[in-house]
């Protein structure tokens, strides 16, 4: 849907810019192609077409190059891919999955990403996220929907000290501002 021919101005829901403070970097995510794939029977065909095996284990992710598949439910995956795939990937997935009952819905604009990284990332997120975030409890590659104070997010650990948050666009400023506030607090400590 989004492709290079569009000339209309695109406005991200987050106007903030990347910045570092107190050992934590906050970065608004670049636009991505985002697809929700539903239907357990379609997973196998999707593995090949997407290029990364869709995780069957709860709360896990799989990546291949710049593409990532996040398990959100037993028949639900969030597929992330670079914008440059926007023209081709939905169509190629749809044709690969034609024989298996499924639902494929483009949610590229529904949500946006906030990238949080740095040594202080766990205590920062734990100001609002009620899950244990040590690497033992929330290892690299784990992804799950959860609560961020009064917003719902998808939290995905992409590195030992790096998380990728997916949040619905109208909640993104709320999440960003709370992260910013606690980052200031922790830096002052």
């Amino acid at each position: 849907m989004s492709d290079a021919t569009i000339t209309a101005a695109r406005r991200s829901p987050l106007s903030a810019e990347a910045s570092s403070l107190g050992g934590v970097t906050l970065t608004p995510g670049a636009p991505l192609l985002r697809l929700i794939l539903r239907g357990a029977e379609a997973a196998e065909a999707a593995d090949t077409a997407f290029g990364a095996d869709l995780p069957r284990r709860p709360n896990r992710s799989a990546t291949a190059g710049e593409r990532a598949a996040l398990w959100l439910g037993p028949d639900e995956w969030l597929l992330l891919a670079p914008e440059s795939d926007a023209a081709s990937l939905p169509a190629s997935l749809a044709s690969a999955l034609a024989q298996a009952p499924h639902a494929l819905v483009n949610v590229s604009h529904r949500q946006t990403a906030i990238l949080v990284s740095g040594s202080g990332v766990e205590p920062l997120l734990n100001a609002f996220v009620p899950l244990e975030l040590t690497e033992a409890a929330f290892p690299v590659g784990m992804a799950t929907r959860t609560i961020f104070e009064k917003a719902e997010i998808v939290l995905w650990r992409t590195g030992s000290a790096a998380f990728h948050i997916e949040v619905w666009r109208s909640f993104a400023p709320y999440v960003w501002e709370l992260l910013e506030a606690v980052r200031r607090e922790n830096a002052a400590n």
Partner: protein, 103 residues
């Protein structure tokens, strides 16, 4: 804040992620048109209210999104067990005996 084991995620997760969904194993009649007014009212409005073990529906709303069932003790507010939607109702008497002997 309680921890609730999600049988789908296979993890203990914080209560904040869940929503309560009322008593479990109240099946919607397969053909409602064949049900009398009294039976239909019973299905709509009447629920048990036990002191002790209660079988109820929960949904891991801010998690995997799945509905599942739980046995919760209404006096202690402790979750005794959780299981996936569609699995049979556990033997509550056996569970109660097990709890009693564990005390």
């Amino acid at each position: 804040m309680l921890l609730i084991r999600c049988p789908v995620c296979e993890m203990d997760r914080p209560e904040l992620e869940f929503r309560y969904g009322g008593e479990a194993h109240i099946a919607r009649p397969l053909d409602p048109s064949k049900v009398s007014d009294e039976e239909w009212a019973d299905f709509l409005y009447f629920r048990t209210n036990p002191k002790g073990l209660h079988v109820e529906r929960w949904r891991h709303t801010a998690g995997c999104g799945r509905f599942f069932n739980a046995v919760r003790h209404t006096v202690t507010d402790r979750f005794v067990t959780t299981y996936k939607s569609g699995e049979p109702r556990p033997d509550l008497e056996a569970l109660a005996r097990k709890l009693e002997s564990a005390r």
